[in-house]
């Protein structure tokens, strides 16, 4: 693997994408506040932003398999839980009741 290539443009594009996704997410939250599918969009944006940071800032695609899987797993957990809570909240609450 060659780590000595200038990645400035790629890093800048990633940063701009993260800023844009943050603002888009805010806009969606405002415009579709009562939309039943809003959690789906928010979950997708969370996953996408996490994946961008992992791949382009941490370089998970060339990292040790444990690190790559750790990042993939962590980034997927919250979006999956958000979708479960949004669409199966009552069931989750029942399961999580002592």
């Amino acid at each position: 693997m060659n780590l000595k290539i200038d990645r400035f443009r790629q890093l800048t594009a990633t940063w701009l994408a993260l800023v844009a996704l943050t603002l888009v997410g805010l806009g969606l939250g405002e415009w579709f506040r009562d939309g039943r599918w809003l959690p789906l969009l928010v979950a997708a944006i969370i996953w996408l932003k996490g994946a961008l940071v992992a791949r382009h800032f941490i370089e998970s695609h060339i990292a040790h398999p444990f690190i790559a899987r750790l990042l993939q797993g962590f980034i997927a957990i919250a979006p999956a839980a958000l979708i479960l809570t949004a669409f199966f909240g009552d069931t989750l609450a029942r399961w999580a009741t002592l």
């Binding site: 890093l11 800048t12 940063w15 943050t22 996490g50 800032f57 479960l84």
Partner: protein, 200 residues
């Protein structure tokens, strides 16, 4: 985390032909950090499932501006620190220092923004006893602030070493370890932000 940066090996560690960003020690720390936040996220989602109305109404009372500013500070400082790693790999020492200083300055905006946010919250009657949503909000966001503070201390240490040419194009695993920790802390905030400020 500081120990992992202090005891960084002299060369970029590679195992099974794959790159280890920073060193093994920092990834033990990051794994522990992820486990801690998975537990905290579990608390968030279980509380949200039990009290959906409290979470719907609570998010509308928070300052979206504060949450957005912190998000932009986190992604921007992450970008600057990634640029510092990029510069040192290319042997551009002065550029690496400049990017890391920029990353530090922007990162310092986070505790400042959080202080202003908490002041705003208290002025609007929002404290830890304002309901389940705010209890979870304070617990999760304060925890994140603690982790970010460790990161800022790490930036200071790495910057001191960088200023004295402690890192070179061939040996910069300490800087990479710091960058990995900061990016991981950034990922955690990118999850926290929509859960509390966007899903109103």
């Amino acid at each position: 985390m500081v120990a992992a940066i202090l005891h960084s090996p002299p060369e970029i560690p590679v195992e099974n032909g794959r790159h280890i960003p920073g060193n093994k020690g920092i990834w033990v720390g990051i794994t522990c950090e992820f486990v801690e936040f998975v537990v905290l996220f579990a608390v968030y989602f279980i509380a949200r499932a039990h009290f959906p109305d409290a979470f719907h109404e609570g998010a509308q009372r928070l300052s979206v501006v504060a949450g957005t500013v912190i998000t932009l500070l986190m992604v921007t400082s992450s970008f600057f620190i990634a640029c510092s790693v990029n510069a040192i790999r290319l042997g551009r020492h002065r550029a690496a220092v400049a990017w890391l200083v920029a990353g530090l300055v922007v990162a310092l905006g986070y505790p400042l923004a959080k202080f202003l946010e908490i002041s705003w919250n208290l002025a609007h009657g929002i404290d830890g006893s304002s309901g389940i949503f705010f209890t979870v909000y304070y617990y999760l966001t304060f925890n994140h602030l603690v982790h970010a503070t460790w990161g800022i201390l790490g930036i200071l240490w790495v910057l001191a070493r960088l200023l004295f040419h402690g890192y070179t194009a061939e040996d910069h695993s300490g800087l990479e370890a710091l960058a990995s920790y900061w990016h991981a802390t950034d990922i955690i905030w990118l999850i926290i932000f929509p859960l509390f400020y966007v899903l109103a």
